[in-house]
């Protein structure tokens, strides 16, 4: 089975990158000291492990969300940012930092999730009763622009450079200094959202024929839309609430995998989750290996890894005349 082999291969890749993420950093922790009382093990267990778990969960969630949104909107350009949920969640986090000087993970997470939930409800209200994906994507784009504009405004009134640096974390995405508190906060939301999204597979396949034909096949488009809004909202909202906006994963992972698994939307979902996890783990390991005291932001590393792959893919696809 080609698909089973691919899934197994991706799972092994994710496992290897997970271990690599535990090993990567400015301090080398010999494998002999792992699971011992050696104080260096503490670096792995307390600093790198939560970070690796978050990278795994968030990468999987964003990869899956990207595959679902591209299928739902039948648009290869779609990614988790089209819903406006990422910019709204980032706005919530930034507002908590600037307006309330919040620094506790729970406070920032709560503010980001509240903003994400608000934008989801607004999106659902705007697209309500419209079974067309066009209304949906327009509403999301407007929300994204609004979130971006308000975030820029908050940066302009940020009280001090510390707050500005903190804000940039939320705009560029970062897994630095994340603890088990963030893991516990975000993981349940991402898991529930991911499960909701996995239920859309068959509807996405039917939408390959367009909305009218999909409805004639017995599909309830309003139910699909509800699953997409709730699932993507939970995954993206919770991800942004702990790491900030991590772009690129949701856009490029489905494209990288389509030549391997075929274009059928449902067949892309699980591989995209694994591929997303692999990409975020790889990028987050890379940012720690860069020289200098400050780490590169995750979003930047992702773009540096993803772009060459993506360009290579585009050149290949251009020859097959299908995008």
């Amino acid at each position: 089975m080609k698909r089973a082999q691919l899934l197994a291969g991706l799972a092994i890749l994710v496992a290897l990158l997970f271990v690599a993420s535990l090993a990567a950093g400015k301090v080398f922790v010999p494998f002999g000291t792992w699971f011992t009382d050696d104080p260096r093990w503490w670096i792995v267990a307390e600093l790198r492990l939560p970070r690796a778990i978050l990278g795994l969960v968030i990468g999987a969630g964003l990869g899956l969300t990207g595959a679902v949104l591209q299928g739902y909107l039948r648009n290869p350009l779609a990614d988790p940012s089209v819903l406006g949920v990422s910019s709204s969640a980032a706005l919530g986090a930034v507002a908590a930092i600037v307006l309330f000087a919040a620094s506790a993970p729970l406070a920032i997470f709560g503010a980001a999730m509240a903003a994400a939930a608000g934008s989801m409800l607004l999106l659902a209200a705007l697209a309500w009763r419209s079974q067309s994906a066009v209304t949906f994507v327009l509403a999301g784009t407007v929300l994204a622009s609004l979130g971006g504009a308000l975030t820029a405004f908050l940066i302009s009134i940020a009280p001090n450079p510390y707050a500005t640096a903190e804000i940039i974390d939320w705009i560029m995405g970062s897994l630095t200094d994340r603890s088990f508190a963030e893991v516990q906060l975000a993981t349940p939301f991402i898991l529930i959202g991911g499960i909701l999204l996995l239920f859309t597979g068959r509807a996405l396949d039917a939408l390959t024929l367009g909305e009218e034909a999909a409805r004639s096949l017995g599909l309830r488009l309003e139910r699909t839309q509800a699953l997409v809004v709730a699932g993507a909202g939970l995954v993206v909202g919770a991800s942004v609430a702990v790491t900030g906006v991590v772009g690129f994963v949701g856009l490029i992972v489905p494209h990288l995998l389509r030549p391997l698994v075929g274009a059928k939307p449902s067949a892309l979902l699980l591989p995209s989750a694994l591929g997303g996890a692999a990409l975020v783990l790889a990028a987050d390991s890379l940012v720690r290996l860069a020289p200098g005291a400050a780490e590169i932001r995750l979003g930047v590393a992702m773009a540096l890894i993803g772009t060459p792959f993506f360009f290579g893919l585009l050149l290949k696809l251009r020859r097959s005349a299908w995008i």
Partner: protein, 262 residues
């Protein structure tokens, strides 16, 4: 089971597209819907498929309101081939045809033997088995049209509603497809197709519904509905009626009618 519409009125945007249509379509027959551009043919077929919101009136299958049926049940009974032949992802031909089985399949389960069998039969009936393993982008427009028809047939519906299924086909495949539709009707399926070609309608249809401005001009046996006066009323054209070797009367448009005297 009859597919019937009673006093059906449909508005799209601000435009009243259908005005109080009454018709009863019978299974085992091929019914062609014809009419000028914008006369409401596609909307009528969409309404029959349960996909258009009616302002007034009803669509029933075997006496039950189509709009009240559970969507999967409706989809098993009525197969609909839209005019829009776009396929948004470059999927494999057999995966596309298998989409037609969706109303029959249980969530998260693989295709059953019956599903696979129905897909093969549908591909056989549309002469598309040779495309197995090819991706949609590798097909010509006409080949794709046949694969899309196979998708509908794979659902084994009691009713087949097709909106301009001949549009992308060459003459040989047009004739082949009409023969297959006649064959399906012969097996008891109800077939309703939107056509533009009067000659093809006369060859293939048992009954013809002529629409103009959202109203029925005439609905009856093809021989009568495709006569001089109904075609003049519906299209504003004059036809020359020629007989073919099987005794069918084929109306060939030869000119526009003179406008009626005011």
């Amino acid at each position: 089971m009859d597919l019937s519409i009673d006093n059906l009125a449909v508005t799209l945007g601000n435009r009243k597209v259908l005005h109080g249509i009454d018709a009863v379509f019978r299974p085992g027959k091929v019914t062609a819907i014809l009419g000028p551009n914008g006369s409401g043919k596609s909307t009528l077929v969409r309404a029959l498929a349960g996909l258009a919101d009616a302002d007034a009136g009803s669509v029933r299958i075997g006496g039950r309101l189509v709009g009240r049926l559970e969507p999967r049940e409706r989809a098993r009974a009525i197969g609909y081939l839209p005019q829009d032949a776009s396929v948004h992802w470059n999927i494999l031909v057999q995966d596309l045809v298998a989409l037609g089985r969706m109303p029959h399949r249980t969530p998260f389960a693989g295709p059953s033997a019956a599903d696979q069998d129905a897909v093969m039969r549908a591909m056989e009936a549309t002469d598309t088995l040779a495309f197995m393993g090819r991706a949609v982008a590798e097909l010509s427009g006409g080949e794709r049209a046949r694969v899309l028809l196979a998708r509908v047939l794979a659902g084994q519906p009691q009713w087949l509603l097709a909106d301009e299924p001949l549009a992308a086909l060459d003459p040989a495949h047009q004739l082949g497809l009409l023969d297959r539709l006649r064959g399906l009707a012969g097996q008891g399926m109800g077939v309703v197709i939107v056509l533009h070609d009067l000659v093809q309608a006369a060859r293939a249809a048992d009954d013809v519904l002529l629409l103009r401005d959202g109203k029925v001009v005439v609905f009856g046996p093809a021989r009568e509905a495709l006569g001089h006066q109904p075609l003049r009323d519906a299209f504003g054209v004059e036809v020359m009626v020629i007989g073919d070797d099987q005794g069918r009367l084929l109306p060939v448009p030869i000119g526009r009618s003179l406008p009626p005297m005011e």
